[in-house]
């Protein structure tokens, strides 16, 4: 089984995100970047499938700037076999990423695509679903468990009411949730081995994909700072304020 793991380079989850002075977006200059945490979970799951003898080849792929190579190296150090960088300086929207991924899937023909349910920067939660739609493949989103069987794949997804068990046929797209696994840290020998693993670079043009944005961002602002609350003396006062001031009951 061949597994494709799309991963994204985002601002490190430990960094406090700041809005750019001109309100055009968030500041990414001189900010520490890292692999999106959900993508780490996706890579970890793929590596476990390989360690269990269920997958033969793991390919990590990232779409974006040159420095995404570092993110791919992280995935290679965790255990992926090779990397693909679709290199572009353009701001990529989920639909553009899904189209780029589809073009690569057409070339590589993986049996399973594992990706994070969303990235912690845009929080769009769209790429996996769009990719499944473009490919016409079954999808399992927000999964907390995956089993590979002869007939396909049995997955458990986290839904509002609890857990939902599904069987889907391969090839398929799955997006992973937080509780699927705990990603490993790369060992020093594996970090060094990753340097020798191949990363192929392709351009969106070569894949015949138009990545021009469909959405215009007008302004990005900091959320308003929270106002201090008030203390009420009695239940009666609370009910009064909720009814007459907040007008919520």
């Amino acid at each position: 089984m061949k597994v494709l793991i799309p991963i994204k380079r985002v601002i490190d989850a430990n960094v406090k995100v700041r809005v750019r002075g001109d309100g055009s977006g968030v500041e990414t200059q001189n900010v520490k970047m890292a692999m999106n945490p959900f993508c780490e979970i996706a890579v970890e799951e793929a590596v476990r499938l390989k360690e269990a003898g269920l997958a033969e080849e793991l390919i990590v792929i990232s779409c974006g700037v040159t420095q995404c190579q570092e993110t791919l190296r992280t995935g290679l150090a965790m255990g992926a076999d090779r990397g693909i960088l679709v290199e572009t300086d353009a701001e990529l929207e989920p639909l553009a990423v899904a189209k780029l991924l589809k073009a690569v899937v057409d070339k590589e023909s993986p049996d399973l695509i594992i990706l994070g349910k969303q990235s912690v920067d845009g929080d769009n939660n769209q790429t996996g679903q769009m990719l499944a739609a473009l490919l016409g493949w079954p999808q399992g989103t927000f999964i907390s468990k995956i089993e590979i069987k002869d007939s396909g794949s049995a997955i458990t997804r986290e839904v509002d009411g609890g857990l939902e068990m599904l069987e889907i046929k391969l090839p398929a797209v799955v997006t992973v949730d937080l509780r699927l696994n705990e990603p490993r840290y790369a060992s020093l020998p594996n970090i060094m081995k990753a340097k020798k693993k191949p990363i192929e670079t392709i351009s969106p043009d070569a894949l015949g994909v138009d990545v021009a944005p469909r959405v215009e961002i007008l302004e990005v602002t900091e959320p308003p700072s929270r106002q201090a609350g008030i203390k009420v003396e009695s239940v009666g006062e609370l009910v009064d304020k909720l009814r007459n001031e907040a007008k919520v009951i």
Partner: protein
């Protein structure tokens, strides 16, 4: 004389170092303050932490690939130790496993390297005890009194060492002993030899280890030799040339300790900044007061400056240069920056800094050591005055 040899593959890029730092940070996240507090309280060895570092290959960073390590340079080793300390942990329980083997690597025979380095790289054999200091000779190494006398195919060792860290948690010990009496040595710096002592077989047969309880959780000991037999094949390098062999290893050690100090300093500064930002007194953050923020800013500047010297010393070592001057200055400046940051962090925390749960008091005690070990500040200053500036010898 330049005794350094550049490691085989010291060409790691900044991206490699960043990947190493990220991975060490992720590893250390499994060992939070609570873990270190408990070890400190019980004066227990952090076995689980050392195991995790070993399994991830970080302690074999300096061992060449042909002997099972990663063959990286001192910059990589420094990055690993800095990240450990920056995370709130402490590398002293195992940092020597990284570098003591350097004496075998640089001066041992091919047979000795083949025999000892691969199991050390795998972590099966721990070589993290170094018997040098004695009760009557610390930095005055040439005056040490432990002797090794040849008898047939072995040496008979008698004497005592003190401040031998991790002897109880090490399988092997690198031992410096006098093999030619001081007055018969051809040169002042000759007459000492280096041996590899297999403590697994020596314990109870002429080797006794006695722990010393100290201000910090450091597993240090005194070690006694009474007619201990060491096979002659465990002599490292040439007879009577041991002093030379250990000097170059000591410079590498100083750079690595300096990197730990930088990690400590960064931890203290992060901790002080966070507390100054959240603690409110008289209706506002204490970090709004210049009296609180200026010392933190000053400690930050001192840390960044000291780190430049640490990076310089490590880079010079990796390029094969002699680093006596830069390694000593790196240790001096980094240990003082760490102490400045520690004092500032404690002051910022006020009374809470004394509460164990903030980890400040533990790190405060731990980082104080590095103005004393592995060499005291005054000895560095006299080295710089005499050997770098050409002033008269003061002692």
């Amino acid at each position: 004389m330049n005794l350094m040899q550049a490691p085989a593959a010291a060409g790691e890029s900044d991206a490699d170092l960043q990947a190493i730092r990220d991975s060490v940070r992720a590893l250390c996240a499994d060992f939070p303050g609570e873990y270190w507090r408990e070890k400190d309280r019980e004066r227990a060895y952090p076995t689980e932490f050392v195991q995790a570092l070993t399994e991830a290959g970080f302690l074999a960073v300096l061992i060449p690939e042909e002997y099972g390590g990663s063959g990286l340079g001192l910059r990589a080793a420094a990055a690993i130790l800095e990240e450990i300390h920056k995370s709130g942990g402490n590398g002293a329980a195992c940092h020597a496993q990284m570098y003591i083997m350097g004496t075998i690597l640089r001066h041992g025979s091919e047979a000795q390297k083949q025999k000892w380095l691969p199991p050390i790289a795998r972590g099966e054999l721990r070589l993290q005890a170094f018997g040098v200091s004695e009760p009557t000779s610390g930095t005055d190494t040439l005056s040490l009194r432990t002797t090794a006398v040849r008898q047939g195919d072995r040496y008979i060792v008698n004497g005592q060492k003190v401040w031998t860290s991790r002897a109880e948690h090490s399988d092997l010990m690198l031992l410096l002993a006098r093999t030619t009496p001081k007055d018969q040595a051809k040169k002042r710096v000759e007459g000492l030899s280096v041996f590899l002592v297999d403590m697994r077989t020596a314990l109870g047969k002429g080797l006794t280890i006695r722990p010393i309880h100290t201000m910090i959780n450091h597993s240090t000991t005194e070690v006694f030799f009474d007619e201990l037999e060491v096979p002659a094949e465990n002599l490292i390098g040439e007879l009577d040339q041991g002093f030379r062999y250990i000097l170059d290893g000591m410079n590498a050690e100083r750079v690595l300790i300096a990197a730990e100090c930088i990690g400590d300093a960064r931890w203290f500064i992060d901790k002080a900044v966070a507390y100054a930002g959240e603690r409110k007194v008289f209706g506002r953050q204490i970090g709004q007061n210049q009296g609180v923020q200026f010392p933190i800013a000053r400690a930050y500047a001192a840390t960044e400056a000291a780190d430049l010297m640490v990076q310089k010393a490590a880079a010079l070592f990796d390029a094969g240069h002699s680093i006596g001057e830069s390694a000593n200055m790196a240790k001096l400046l980094a240990s003082e920056a760490a102490w400045q940051a520690a004092d500032t962090c404690l002051q910022t925390h006020g009374g809470y800094g004394f509460a164990e749960e903030y980890d400040v008091e533990r790190k405060f005690r731990e980082t104080r050591l590095y103005q004393i070990a592995p060499i005291s500040t005054n000895m560095i200053l006299s080295y710089l005055a005499e050997h770098v500036l050409g002033l008269p010898r003061s002692y």
